[in-house]
């Protein structure tokens, strides 16, 4: 906007300046004692604590162990959401009646924040693995459903007409025409689902779980260990970023294979 895009060198220089200013300011206010340590640790303390937690346990497990137990629930919840949401979305895209029946229910539930399911999730499935999985499911389900539905709904009519003319039945129509055509939309939805599911997982673990990174952070908060809380945030952010990068790669690979991007 303000002139042409910056050159790579300029971008890097300004980026380094911004990052340095941020870290420098943070270091300055913490090491000078302006902000007490138990309120905000210095960046160095945080990094040290993070690496310390990688090997020594806190709240019953090391950070990688907490992450592993979080990730199990997470994968379970997201896969469940995909396994139910995608087929249902495709069916809704094909059968008008199903669409008309499910949409009002779905619209009604949409405004309830996924995290508000926590009490029922705890009551129905306990706080071990079932409860958190249900909350992750509540967060990850809507994008799976909506994107499969949209993908199926906006298939080129000519494809459907051609298939119909050849006497294709409902099942083959969904599996061989709608599903392949909807794949780009479905994959985009999965990426949104993965992000929302990760977010819901953190919420679930803060409230009900007895293991996992969220639980570790609540324990640290209870014993006023700000550094450990922030190390947990760092771990959650890193894993979330990793999931997003992997799915982005997957999406790009899929688009290339189908010749959507030149």
């Amino acid at each position: 906007m303000n002139g042409a895009p910056l050159s790579l060198r300029e971008t890097l220089a300004w980026g380094a300046l911004g990052a340095l200013a941020f870290v420098g300011f943070w270091t300055l206010i913490t090491t000078s004692g302006l902000v007490p340590r138990q309120f905000l640790p210095s960046p160095l303390d945080l990094v040290q604590r993070f690496f310390h937690l990688l090997t020594s346990p806190f709240a019953g497990a090391t950070l990688p162990e907490h992450l592993a137990s979080s990730f199990r629930r997470y994968a379970f919840g997201v896969l469940l959401a995909a396994a139910i949401g995608i087929p249902l979305g495709l069916l809704m895209g094909w059968f008008r009646l199903l669409d008309d029946i499910v949409t009002p229910i779905f619209d009604g539930l949409r405004f309830i924040a996924p995290i508000a399911w926590v009490p029922f999730a705890a009551l129905w499935f306990g706080t071990g693995i079932g409860g958190p999985v249900m909350i992750i499911f509540a967060g990850a389900f809507p994008p799976c459903l909506i994107n499969a539905y949209r993908g199926a709904r906006f298939v080129e009519p000519r494809l459907i007409e051609a298939a119909r003319m050849l006497g294709t039945g409902n099942l083959r129509m969904i599996l061989e025409i709608l599903l392949p055509a909807a794949v780009p939309s479905i994959v985009a939805g999965l990426r949104v689902s993965a992000g929302l599911g990760w977010q819901s997982l953190v919420g679930a673990e803060l409230i009900v779980a007895a293991a996992g990174v969220g639980f570790m952070m609540v324990q640290a908060q209870g014993s006023v260990q700000t550094t450990t809380v922030m190390a947990g945030m760092l771990a959650i952010g890193l894993v979330g970023m990793l999931i997003d990068i992997l799915l982005r790669q997957g999406e790009a690979w899929m688009r290339r294979r189908r010749g959507l991007d030149s």
Partner: protein, 258 residues
């Protein structure tokens, strides 16, 4: 008149209520300890509406939550939109702020809750802080994208006419970016409710999330349902209100008027 779709929709809602009645009150397949019957739900609603539950009446809890969401949301708008405008306007600002954003953005807003409690305690300030965090990121990103998507000729025309900088921002850039800004605000609003409910579930003295928390501890399914429906109604009402503001603000925009 109600079309076919609306008719089936009404039928579905009636069917769900009938099924609910059938499963709980009539046959008892779903026990009251897991999901309340319609009459239990009604009794809980009357209880919290008239006598109160978890330290207050429903209206007081709901208004308190609403107040926090609106405050956090407004703070996020007031900081996020200017930052987004600035990042969109200046390539240098974008390059300098991006690395910090790259670090903060992947951290889910809910993960700020324990830190907010450590810093600000269990009161309103901590909640406003986490709502601010959750609503801030979508408003910055969408405002930024909105500015970057403005047609160049519009800017060049304004510049050629010698528009001063201040008027450039208020009369050209902000209006031209406003459709995307509002998209960001809708996302921000949703994030605000999710975060508030989570924060109130983790620790609060009043609010809808606190009602849910107490009902969970009391093993009181009917009150859980009352709390959830309240959350849904509040989320719906604020979304409708925002959509109304959007229609007013974007009345000039033909594309948004449908």
């Amino acid at each position: 008149m109600i079309g076919r779709r609306g008719l089936i929709g009404l039928g579905t809602v009636a069917g769900v209520i009938a099924l609910w009645f059938l499963l709980t009150t009539l046959t008892g397949i779903v026990s009251g300890a897991r999901f309340p019957s319609p009459s239990e739900f009604w009794a809980s609603l009357v209880q919290i509406w008239t006598r109160g539950y978890a330290g207050g009446q429903l209206l007081a809890h709901a208004l308190h939550s609403l107040k926090l969401v609106v405050m956090g949301f407004l703070v996020a708008i007031a900081t996020g939109i200017p930052l987004g405008l600035w990042m969109g306007w200046s390539r240098r600002a974008e390059a300098a702020i991006n690395p910090v954003f790259l670090v903060i953005r992947p951290i889910p807003p809910l993960a700020w809750i324990p830190l907010a409690i450590l810093w600000l305690g269990l009161g309103d300030a901590a909640k406003i802080m986490v709502i601010w965090f959750s609503a801030f990121v979508p408003s910055v990103i969408n405002t930024f994208a909105g500015v970057r998507n403005i047609d160049r000729p519009i800017l060049e025309a304004a510049r050629m006419l010698g528009t001063p900088r201040g008027r450039m921002v208020t009369e050209i850039i902000a209006p031209a970016a406003s459709p995307l800004i509002f998209t960001g605000l809708r996302l921000s609003l949703q994030a605000s409710w999710t975060t508030l409910v989570a924060a109130e579930l983790v620790g609060a003295m009043v609010g809808v999330g606190f009602v849910l928390n107490m009902a969970q501890q009391d093993l009181y399914p009917a009150m859980i349902l009352v709390g959830m429906i309240t959350v849904g109604i509040l989320g719906w009402a604020t979304t409708v209100a925002l959509a109304r503001v959007e229609r007013q603000a974007l009345a000039w925009n033909v594309a948004a008027r449908d």
